[in-house]
């Protein structure tokens, strides 16, 4: 196995912003900041570009605009106090981080055995709903970057119907703060399953139209096929996961490979595509929407109606957890998310570190894909990689 060939890295001294010896700089080169204030940027981040015409010569990712120091803040909060803060790590998809915090501390405290059956099912339900709503949002964002307006209007609205379900179940539209230690915070409301089914039907009914607008559209095909190809040999070496990996035709999915919650009992397939370009990634996401709907329907059918949804908790104000360290992972819409959790026997976390797929996607991969890219494709590339700045800098 060959060590990665890193001749493509920017031969550039970042401190002095001058090229390294051996790198030539074209006098026609123009420096351009893409973001943080730009309608096409995925969140509050920026890419510093060097252009020749509209072709990118090289670029550097800059993050830190959303840095809140979560990891530091959680080190000085009691375990239960970390729970409301953790969902802010990834704004669009808060449930994954909530689950990771809960499961990592449950594992270290031995509470994991006590999580009741219904709590597990509700967690699975919320996680899958969350994946579905983010995938819908990214589908819309993907075509939105190419100036197409109809599909985003539809997908955001469909997502909003799912947010209504979240609001009904968890009490919040965006920050659900629902999955907590020992299970979840509230039971299903009466009639929730029917309403969620209706929402799923609504989404499903719209999917063929979305196909026509997106995947079958000649404009979209022209803009995305063969654009921003992630080479297959980067997959293992850079730790690529999620739709970006599955668009290379590699069927890896944390839900199946490292079974957690109730996923082993559910029937689902790992959606893949070939081509590894933006189009392939969109195809994977489109297939995952259908697959998520399929999974949620199974969950609603298989979930027990009665029973406790949360384990009996100790006094959360004085809860201490024995010293230890662990790594837990879960499949978010972007790929594998993981928490490194270190405790030291006190009532606070010693160290927590979020490992997210955006971390390499937005920096290592993006910077190496930039040379030669047309600047018009940059937004679409970033959305297809799902670079999520709050997750990178936390």
């Amino acid at each position: 196995m060959s060590v990665f060939d890193y001749t493509t890295q920017p031969g550039f001294d970042l401190i002095s912003e001058t090229p390294n010896a051996g790198t030539t700089v074209d006098p026609k080169e123009v420096q351009l900041w893409f973001g943080p204030q730009h309608p096409g940027i995925t969140g509050n981040m920026s890419v510093q570009l060097w252009l020749e015409g509209d072709t990118i010569k090289r670029g550097i990712t800059h993050v830190g605009y959303l840095h809140r120091g979560f990891e530091k803040l959680m080190e000085r909060r009691k375990f239960i106090q970390s729970f409301p803060i953790v969902c802010r790590m990834c704004v669009a998809e808060p449930d994954t981080t909530e689950y990771l915090l809960a499961s990592s501390l449950e594992e270290l405290s031995g509470l994991d055995q006590a999580v009741p059956e219904k709590g597990q099912w509700l967690r699975t339900l919320v996680m899958e709903m969350s994946r579905l709503q983010v995938t819908l949002m990214v589908m819309g964002g993907q075509v939105g970057t190419m100036g197409m307006g109809t599909a985003p209007n539809w997908t955001y609205t469909l997502r909003d119907f799912l947010l209504d379900s979240f609001e009904e179940l968890t009490g919040g539209r965006v920050y659900h703060m629902y999955i907590t230690y020992g299970g979840v915070r509230r039971d299903l409301t009466p009639g929730f399953a029917q309403r969620l089914e209706a929402t799923l039907d609504r989404i499903e009914e719209r999917l063929p139209y979305l196909d026509d607008l997106i995947l079958n559209s000649a404009v979209f095909q022209q803009r995305t096929q063969g654009v921003s190809v992630v080479p297959a040999e980067w997959a293992d070496e850079l730790g690529i996961t999620g739709p970006v990996l599955r668009a290379m035709g590699v069927a890896r999915d944390t839900r199946r490979d490292y079974p957690y919650l109730k996923y082993p009992e559910l029937d689902f397939k790992v959606c893949t595509a070939t081509g590894s370009d933006i189009y392939a990634r969109t195809q994977v996401r489109r297939a995952e929407i259908a697959e998520s709907i399929h999974i949620i329907r199974q969950i609603l059918q298989m979930m027990p109606q009665e029973g406790p949804y949360c384990a009996k908790l100790p006094n959360m104000l004085t809860w201490t957890i024995p010293a230890g360290s662990t790594y837990v992972r879960a499949e978010s819409s972007r790929g594998e998310m993981g928490f490194v959790m270190v405790t030291d026997g006190s009532d606070t976390i010693r160290r927590v570190h979020l490992r997210g797929p955006s971390y390499t996607n937005a920096v290592t991969i993006l910077e190496r894909m930039l040379p030669g890219m047309n600047i018009a494709d940059l937004s679409a590339t970033m959305v297809s990689l799902q670079t999520c700045p709050p997750e990178i800098e936390r």
């Binding site: 909060r77 009691k78 239960i80 106090q81 970390s82 729970f83 409301p84 803060i85 109809t150 609205t157 909003d160 209504d164 609001e167 009904e168 179940l169 968890t170 009490g171 919040g172 920050y175 703060m177 299970g183 915070r185 509230r186 039971d187 409301t189 139209y209 196909d211 026509d212 607008l213 079958n216 559209s217 000649a218 404009v219 095909q221 022209q222 406790p308 949804y309 949360c310 009996k312 908790l313 100790p314 006094n315 959360m316 104000l317 004085t318 809860w319």
Partner: protein, 591 residues
Amino acid sequence: MSLKNVIAPFSAWARAVQKPFTVPTAETFRPGADRYRGWHINDTEQCIGCGTCSDICQNSAIDMKPVDEPNKGDSGLRPLVDYGRCCWCALCVDVCPSGSLGLSSNYIWIDRDPDVFRYIPGVDRKEWDSDEKGWRKDDGFNLVDPDRVPMPMMMPVEDRVKTWAEVVLGYTEAEARAEAARCVECGLCVAACPAHMHIPDYIAAIRDGHYDVAVNHIYDNNPLPEMCGKVCTRRCEDVCSIGVNGDPLAIRWLKRFATEQFSDLSAVLSHEQPQIGTGKSVAVIGGGPGGLTTAFYLAVRGFKVTVFEALPQVGGATFFGIPKYRFPLGSLEKQIKLMTDWGVEIKTNHKVEPDEFKQLQQDYDAIYIGTGLLKPSSLRAEGEDLPGVMPAIEMLIDHHLGKTVEVGQHVVVVGGGNVAIDAARISRRLGAEVTIAYRRRLEDMPADYEEIEDAEAEGVHLMTQNIPLRVEQLPGGRLDFIWGPAEMISEGGGRPRPKLIEGIENHLAVDKVIVAIGQKPDLRWLPADVAEQISNSWGGITCDENGMTAAPGVFAGGDLVNSTADAISAIADGLKAVDGIINYLGLGTKP
């Protein structure tokens, strides 16, 4: 690129004629979901001001603000929410021990002034105060532990009546720490405790395993903690915030656990009190908890303190009034030993006479009276002076002084207080069948509910709502206890009063009738003029806020003064007298 793909997007036009999804404008906004987490509401009647919401808030968004003077069981504080901090996680709602806090489903609050986003829910009126919807506490999700760690008891129950050994076995270390971890450190118990013990502090120390620190906190204002740890009436647990929707913290058992960890208390206790009392002397008449408290804390300050006790053993009601299966003599002696080690002089079998009292007034700088209530109240029913009808207090004293108490085969105990329960359980251990006859309902019984449960478990039969009519002699030395049923009637406010249902007479053949319907003060040992000066209408003693009676230099406390008949109030009176005596002698900082 096929023609099909060029045409495909135009399929979207099919949707153009359909109804849009757009929500209406501001005048008719969608209401929040039933569980929506909007602005706070608070039922200020239910709220106890424990501050747990403020403790759990990771945003430090909640301040506790004084809104009125604290009562027992209510700190007088109410949460003020800063919406410049709040993140609507609703942990405050889920942790709220009283269940008073909630979130409404309203979600729109707009202003140009950033300083308005703060208010005290329930106190500052808001339009969403009466919102039925919104996030509320749910029984299935508890952030505090409502279930007490069960106390190990002597098992099986049948064995308990065969022995005088302690029934309550005490927590193990793991159990005690687990129980201590349930505390939310609100401090309402501090208000409820007559002595204002540092309860949250010692519970926190127990939780962290620092038992020496805990004992130092405990001894800071209670010199008889092992007694309190076993038999206290524990008003603290009545107001415990966890107890509002769960089992209150076992504060009593935790205190017991901490003090039991050390057999030699002087090894772990220390004090740094200045010896302000050197050269001054104080006489304490009556070696009950109040007197011993005064004696101990004055001796710590260098006073020469002498305790005069009529019985052969100090401890007062804690000695003769509490059965040994609840409070073994060894525990009492351990605490008395610390007092004598730290300089308290104790004279037992020394009953003060009127003339001697005059002499004590001459010899000592101050006198503390804590002789308690010893004269039994009468049954006020025909046949009360028959042989076989005896006051419970005499029975308890005789029993604890080692005299033989004859109870026969079947005993009826009249009364519903702790003394009645103790007399009943002692009689049970002496081999009798026991019936308790009480005028009111079971829930009206002043006795500790756990004591009542234990008594029932030990086979004591409880008979409520009955009024003794008379006692008659039966042939063969037995007695006929005749009683009539009562109904409870409420008049005006106040608690319901039992009223005899006329015309019904029930008979119960018993060997003894033990009367436990209270005691009265007995001040005949005082010189008549002093007694006249300091006593009040019911025969007790009235004190000012410093614990001093109308006679200068004569202080009093305990049952004689407060008539609540529990040890911790006597200890509180003793503490008050410590300050009073120091100030009276001009040694304190207070003018």
